[in-house]
Symmetry: C2
Subunit: 266 residues, 2 copies
DNA sequence: AAACGAGGTTCATATAATGAACCAGTGGAC
DNA sequence: GTCCACTGGTTCATTATATGAACCTCGTTT
């Protein structure tokens, strides 16, 4: 392993629960020699990727990260940011993956990636802007938004299923609750026959849901097992997706998306 | 120089004007061997600090930066973020340096650092919240804020100089204009006799002025020369300060703060 | 076809990373 | 007070790793 990688691994030791650590902490966590760790920490500090509390001598993430992240947000278009993550997800899932942003109560396509391994697959055909309540994405968004948002959405007839009346709020509420508990939303043949999908929200820097990511697959491909597989895959990538777009996943959602074992590893 | 530093230097090559570059670009800019640069770029990419456009093969800043910067913003308190920069500035200036945040039209102390080398110096004595128009900080804020802010501030009597009437808008406007052009605001014996100060705004992520940084010094220390020296120092640190707090300096302000020669180096 | 520059790889060499042992300071425990 | 167990940090012979000239392979330009 390269020295660079070893040094950069140090930055990954920092987390919300352990935002700063001393030399010994870092040494224990990496298992490397104290001298090595110290030189790495110093190098990172000199470059501004870490900074040292002058009084406690503990290290914490440095200002260079803020500077560069700001630059990335300014210079890299949103599409490019998610592209690599979504391409990867689409490749491993083998299905159409879709990122949409909310503009008012419309879902607009940010980026999508489709695959060609399956002879039968869902293709993206830009079927116009689907109404919020007709898509798994829309339900994922609502399930992870504050209650007031639902009322506003219900008041707008454009969000309803095409050709039908206003949805029943009570039924919806219980559905949204189970989505929030489960971690993802699903749809089966709701908008287009033969097309199923699973979806999760994408959060912004203030941890509000502002976009969604969904996987669409032919209902013919399988039942509960297929859905479960794709949903797991989607949730496993959830954090990467929102973070690629500059957002932060709320802790409670994160704990649903990544079960304890995996979380310990990260 | 350590390998780590060399690799991290690569990240500093990226800028708003050159947000992505190929291997050859990076090689030319660093003067290092192509193979070396390539290995460094790859290591950074693998760790997520860079990402590669799949089609053009150009490198750009990666998602790991966003992730870590978000963590820093969440876990490191505002005070800690500016501390190192402000301490350094105060040490080199040898004077009282002051960071305040705007809460409504009140300036509240975020952090300040004083020095002890001079027998005569300005000491921070928490003289209550000074009115906006009485401080160089207040004027720096207004000079770099949209016009509407001034009107709102003028409407609030608490922003006026103690014991005086509403300031004349015309006079103020020309003063604020010259501040914006000059890059910094100044005060001489305005609030307290014998105390002078220079101030600049601190910008947030959306490039709006939301805080200020000022240097206070005894008027006895010197006239235009002293002011000029301290103002230059302050402006030279301007970018570091706003970036430490997670903000971004608007390009036009940046070009005032760092004259062409220095900007080329960065 | 030839020439160029792009990104990327190879492998002997040289340089920089490593780690055991070493200071020095701090906060208990007794 | 002394001792002990921790810190964070440094040194220097040893070794592993980074380096770079030469190489390959594409895609453009001439």
């Amino acid at each position: 392993m390269s020295t660079i990688s070893k040094a950069l691994q140090l930055l990954d030791l920092f987390s919300d629960s352990q935002p700063q650590m001393g030399l010994s902490d870092a040494q224990r966590l990496t298992g490397r020699d104290k001298a090595t760790v110290h030189r790495h920490l110093s190098a990172l500090e000199e470059a501004g990727y870490l900074e040292q509390d002058p009084s406690t001598r503990a290290y914490r993430l440095g200002p260079a990260l803020t500077r560069l992240a700001g630059m990335r947000a300014r210079t890299v278009p949103e599409v490019e940011m998610v592209r690599t993550v979504i391409d990867k997800l689409s490749r491993t899932a083998g299905e159409l993956v879709h990122v949409s942003r909310l503009q008012g109560f419309d879902l607009v396509d940010v980026y999508h990636a489709e695959q060609h391994d399956h002879p039968v697959r869902v293709s993206f055909d830009a079927y116009g802007l689907p109404p919020l309540f007709a898509t798994s994405s829309g339900k994922a968004y609502l399930a992870f938004s504050p209650g007031g948002v639902l009322d506003l959405a219900l008041a707008d007839p454009r969000t309803w299923l095409p050709g039908s009346d206003a949805p029943d709020k009570g039924t919806l509420l219980t559905e949204l609750e189970s989505i929030a508990k489960r971690g993802y939303a699903r749809n089966r043949d709701a908008l287009r026959l033969g097309v199923s999908s699973v979806a999760i929200p994408v959060f912004d820097a203030a941890a509000r849901a502002t976009a969604t990511c969904s996987i669409a697959y032919p209902t013919s491909r399988g039942g509960a097992a297929a859905e479960d597989h794709l949903a797991r895959l989607l949730m496993a990538h959830g954090r990467d997706i929102t973070e690629a777009m500059g957002g932060a996943v709320p802790p409670d959602v994160q704990s649903i998306w990544t079960p304890s074992r995996e979380r310990a590893a990260s």
